[in-house]
Amino acid sequence: MNKKSPAYVLSFMAAICLVFGTGISVVNYATQGLLAKNAAMHRNRVLCRAFQLDVAGTSAEAYQQAVDAALRTATVGGRTVYECGAPGREGVGFVAGGMGFWDRIDVVVVLSPDLRNVLNVQVLDQKETPGLGARIEEPWFTDQFKGLSVAWEAPAESRILVGANPAPNAANEVDAITGATQTSMALMRFLNDELAAFRAAYSAAPQPLNPEP
């Protein structure tokens, strides 16, 4: 067959796409169960880290058990809210997310029950530049959020400050990441957006979220 004929070119292209497309689809479907399991485990692990729960071991079951034992979930305003009632670890948590520099960032935010302070922020998912924006996962950065107070009286976009601002070392400020201004700004933007949305939904919901049975 003539290699230059349009029919050959088209059918070759179609064949290549078909073969490799099928390959990817097969791999994708074959691993879907595993992927879902991995995602659930990762979520539980980050929740344990965010609420500082005790976990017996590092297996998926251990994380699941720890989360089931300590956290109660409720749906408030379309988002899942996690509540922890264990003495000394009381807090409410939710997943906040938004656009980073390259792709979506998702973090678990834990607030004190009166919503005045941030207790913890742990990164759930991010695809920022390794060595720059990706450092939002590192403890030196996330530890800054522990005990941070939320300036609810401030305008909605500056209740939590990341990096440069007129009042350095304010009670609601954390340091930005050097060389990753864009990621830091993006984090600040969506944290403030999500905090406002969360508070509006949370205070409108009937309390307590999980009445004793």
Binding site: C17, I24, W102, R104, Q182, M185
Partner: protein, 202 residues
């Protein structure tokens, strides 16, 4: 700041265009499309030629990929194939353009034709199509994003071409001439573009 969805059509179009072209310049802020930029920017006129071709392809494929993604991949739940599909769309579109230009205008083909294979491998174009998905754009806004991104690349390569043309006349050490000095030039330009970053937020 007013959310994009509540803005008038023209102002949102303009804002997306300007931010994609300057504050988020694909070459200077995200460093995509560097290889073909280093390879082709020796002279202003070739730089302009490739720049225009890239701008055209970026804008068109951003719009095409938007349609393919929204109306084909999402309903079929094949989002995970988007990389492959986008690449094929870009490559096929480039091929199509090449064939059409070849038949319609020989002059245009001779001046633009050599760049077309280079466009297929230009990661800036794929990058624009992928970044577009991360934002809640409408069809026309996606087109504005593609056009702006392409224009940003065009602008950057045109500037680099102009500088290189002058530098080529300077007496440089042999090892530094060519890619070496170009990298220094782009490094300094990138520093300037860092100053743009964060000026417009969408």
């Amino acid at each position: 700041m007013t959310p994009l969805s509540e803005m008038g059509f023209l102002s949102s179009f303009l804002l997306i265009f300007v931010s994609a072209a300057f504050t988020d310049n694909i070459l200077m802020a995200r460093f995509l499309g560097m290889c073909s930029c280093l390879g082709v920017s020796k002279k202003v006129d070739t730089s302009l030629g490739l720049g225009v071709a890239v701008m055209f392809v970026t804008a068109t494929t951003a719009a095409l990929n938007y349609l393919v993604y929204t109306y084909l991949l999402v309903p079929l739940r094949l989002e995970y194939l988007r990389l492959i599909v986008f690449i094929v769309v870009i490559a096929a579109f480039t091929q199509l353009v090449e064939m059409i230009i070849e038949r319609v205008s020989e002059k245009l083909y001779n001046s633009l034709g050599i760049f077309l294979p280079l466009i297929t491998v230009n990661c800036a174009i794929l990058g624009i199509s992928l970044f577009m998905l991360n934002k809640p754009y409408s069809f026309l806004q996606a087109f504005a994003f593609g056009l702006g991104g392409g224009f940003g690349w065009f602008l950057a390569i045109a500037l680099i071409g102009g500088i290189r043309e002058k530098i080529n006349e300077a007496a440089l050490p042999k090892g530094l001439a060519g890619p070496g000095i170009t990298l220094v030039v782009i490094g300094i330009m990138a520093l300037a573009f860092v100053g743009f970053s964060g000026m417009i937020k969408i």
